[in-house]
Symmetry: C3
Subunit: 190 residues, 3 copies
Amino acid sequence: MESTMRRLISALFLLLLITVGSSASPTHWRKRVREPCKKLVLYFHDIIYNGHNAKNATSAIVGAPSWGNKTILAGQNHFGDVVVFDDPITLDNNLHSPPVGRAQGFYIYDKKEIFTSWLAFSFVFNSTQHKGSINFAGADPLMNKTRDISVIGGTGDFFMTRGVATLSTDAFEGEVYFRLRVDMNLYECW
Amino acid sequence: MESTMRRLISALFLLLLITVGSSASPTHWRKRVREPCKKLVLYFHDIIYNGHNAKNATSAIVGAPSWGNKTILAGQNHFGDVVVFDDPITLDNNLHSPPVGRAQGFYIYDKKEIFTSWLAFSFVFNSTQHKGSINFAGADPLMNKTRDISVIGGTGDFFMTRGVATLSTDAFEGEVYFRLRVDMNLYECW
Amino acid sequence: MESTMRRLISALFLLLLITVGSSASPTHWRKRVREPCKKLVLYFHDIIYNGHNAKNATSAIVGAPSWGNKTILAGQNHFGDVVVFDDPITLDNNLHSPPVGRAQGFYIYDKKEIFTSWLAFSFVFNSTQHKGSINFAGADPLMNKTRDISVIGGTGDFFMTRGVATLSTDAFEGEVYFRLRVDMNLYECW
């Protein structure tokens, strides 16, 4: 009987040590599981102002290098062009689908040799489905099939979220229209 | 006596199981409590350069669409205007109160139909009260009474912080002066 | 014998209470240890376009206040100048060392009285050593010897990272070239 007790108590001690050990390790050392707590796929549509499409345009050049102007994307792969946008977000890849929100922010073309850009923007939702916003920032080497940017925060339904968004160019028509598919994987959900 | 022991040991085992169970669940699955670890309310004051107020101005238009210029906010709800600012931060809503820091960064007007903007900026403190900085980004649909943006990071006293800041327009005079009230709720404090 | 048992069991209970107590406290209340999980030191090199160095320039003025232009940094400590860059990143302070990535993004000069700037950019890696990107944002009071900005996210090898980057100006030549040393301390590693 006594030896049984002892074994039990030893086992308890062992378990305790394991437990104490694991919970004492500071949060940021713990290997976190790379499994998203929320996934979302959305599309947004950018129609850049070119001097002739004021009615349909959803974006406009607002900064340009000395060799550029505000109605034609600059030479040298548009290096230095700054574009502000307010683009419709849709659930599928159809520009004319009912928008579920707006993608608002800016991008800059930032390389002379090839097309690359840098973006900072928000998805702003105000529908029955989603309320709140998701904020993004990151480099977009847009000639790559897919590229990852950071989800740096959120509000409302996306309160305090973080994650990674994978961008892919779903369509590109001349230098006026492009459509981006955004695959969001959120790893912090409050 | 023995049965008492057994009950005690059973209770211990149960507690252990609960403990082990709860600490084994990965951090990002845990439902986090939405209670701020720090709260702050501050005001900042923006006086935009209009060609006649060089001395007092704290901000200036630095980018504009092709239909705009650098001394008058553009038509179409200022769509495309990019404004850089270095605004005083005060504890109350008085422009002439001693500033406790500077709000530095930029905003863009990003919608043709109504006033909305997108901001990225820092609160930079260097006083006895606060040292360090808080970094913000997000959409500001400024016709709404309140709107939430993300606190995306911080340094110094605000090392690694994250949270949500609620903006409200506390005053708006012509197209020259506005005052924003910022209610910060920080949910990550290191 | 019995009293020994009792003491043992009391000790176990105490340990359990401590354990349960510590793991029940929500993550964001826990005092996190300020020890980086990853450290990195890198340099990047900015050569600003001045109208005469198109071949070597890695950055260009793309926005300016009404009193500025796109080839000469504006008066009043360059207040309002917006600069887009695509700068080589090197392991040491030699501009001609083989680049290990590109620093891409923008900075704005944001104070009339002294030189200060605000930056948002990414380190984009695609080498055998590092793949992925690190995203930064924050105020850069560049006359200070060191200044801290936020690491707001990352992708690839730097998936979901957060931290603080300490900038220091390692060289500054006229108004054309500067070199920044970036000491990254990452406190969240997945």
